[in-house]
């Protein structure tokens, strides 16, 4: 009897230990997956940041004195945040030719953070090609904010786009992780953290707008 009891206990303890080890191992794996997602998100964020920086540095490319460099600019307020809806300007394409460039904010689903649904966006970049807008690049579809501010030389916001001498741009990219179920039983992609990037540029092409010479 003693022997049977001993063996049963040993089996039970062994099973518990195995289950615990399996649980720990799977958690370690999910940590590794999170790190990989983070690495990919960081690379994508910096790649989009590079495109934005290059594009906006060329804003007003080859404009003549008095000509408008920023052609369209509009913001919208969503979920209490001001987001830039459209930004259109004279810029440079990959071949160095002067071209109209348009950034447009598009809704790209939603994610859950601390039980609250957060809208996600994508910024699409279009180039004008013989009167038609041709898609020429886009951000990742996990942006939670995209904001462009047109500033004068003293860093104050402007009302007239032709008064702009500087462009400040900021965006936030959420790192969307695995599917999870929240307390209310809803499932969705949760996001772990936000990567934030922003820069203020003084494109030379904006200096000649509304030139009074």
């Amino acid at each position: 009897m003693h022997l049977i009891f001993d063996k049963m206990t040993a089996t039970l303890v062994g099973a518990i230990v195995l289950v615990m080890l399996f649980g720990l191992q799977s958690r370690i794996q999910s940590n590794t997956v999170e790190s990989t997602i983070m690495y990919a998100a960081k690379k994508q964020t910096l790649a989009f940041a590079e495109i934005l920086e290059r594009d906006l540095s060329n804003a007003g490319y080859l404009t003549t004195p008095g000509e408008k460099a920023i052609l369209a600019f509009s913001n919208r307020i969503e979920a209490g945040r001001s987001l830039t809806d459209t930004l259109e300007f004279w810029g440079s394409d990959a071949a160095g030719d002067r071209v109209r460039i348009r950034y447009a904010l598009e809704t790209a689903g939603s994610s859950i953070r601390e039980g609250v649904s957060v809208p996600l966006y994508r910024v699409s970049r279009y180039e004008e090609d013989y009167g038609m807008w041709k898609l020429a690049g886009a951000s990742m579809s996990t942006l939670t904010a995209f904001r462009v501010d047109l500033l004068d030389s003293g860093n104050n916001g402007v009302i007239e786009t032709s008064d702009a001498r500087k462009i400040r741009v900021r965006f936030e990219n959420a790192i969307v992780g695995h599917q999870a179920r929240d307390r209310d039983g809803r499932t969705g992609n949760i996001f772990l953290q936000r990567l934030r990037w922003g820069v203020t540029l003084s494109p030379r092409g904006l200096a000649l707008q509304e030139f009074q010479g």
């Binding site: 001993d6 206990t9 040993a10 303890v13 062994g14 230990v17 615990m20 080890l21 720990l24 191992q25 958690r27 370690i28 940590n31 590794t32 999170e34 790190s35 983070m38 690495y39 998100a41 960081k42 964020t45 910096l46 940041a49 920086e53 540095s57 790192i175 772990l192 953290q193 936000r194 990567l195 934030r196 990037w197 922003g198 820069v199 203020t200 540029l201 003084s202």
Partner: protein
């Protein structure tokens, strides 16, 4: 006796795994925080570099002593005379930023909340091959170095400083 030994070994195995798990979680968290800092730090580096790029190549090109019609590199500011401004906003040309005392620049994450970074700038002349030149040339290399201003338990939030380099030449 063998049962006791077996149970002890099982506990040791579980504890080792648990320790491994916690270390892995800590590492993953550090990596996530570091990545956030890296992206913000690179934004600060781009910002500072664009600010420096908005300044004239040299004091002598700004006052037209050296110009398209007088292309004499010997008249440019010598490497020994680099630096000399007390604050970012007081620097008049590219080489004035050299050796400036570490500047604190904040990246605003929420209204009123910002994360501080330390910015250091160094400027040098380079030759056509990209090596450091001891006398003035037509190219200056600016290196912007970003480090985190705060640390947790002695470990800086930005584990490795970010360095951004760019070369400038007079534009005429």
């Amino acid at each position: 006796m063998p049962q006791t030994l077996g149970a002890f070994l099982a506990i040791v195995a579980v504890m080792t795994f648990a320790l491994n798990y916690h270390r892995s979680t800590l590492h993953a968290q550090h990596s996530v925080i570091n990545s956030e800092y890296e992206v913000m730090g690179s934004a600060i580096a781009a910002d500072v570099m664009n600010y420096i790029a908005s300044k004239p190549f040299d004091a002598r090109t700004a006052d037209n002593t050296v110009s398209r019609s007088n292309q004499n590199t010997l008249l440019l500011t010598g490497p020994a005379e680099f630096g000399g401004c007390a604050d970012f906003d007081l620097c008049n040309d590219i080489d004035d930023f050299d050796g400036l005392a570490s500047q604190v620049r904040g990246f605003e994450v929420e209204p009123g909340v910002s994360i501080d970074f330390l910015v250091d700038v160094s400027v040098k002349y380079i030759d056509d091959a990209g090596n450091t030149a001891t006398s003035p040339t037509w190219a200056k290399e600016v290196a912007v170095r970003i480090a985190s201003a705060d640390s947790v338990g002695g470990i800086p939030r930005l584990i490795r400083p970010i360095q951004l380099k760019r070369q400038f030449s007079p534009q005429w």
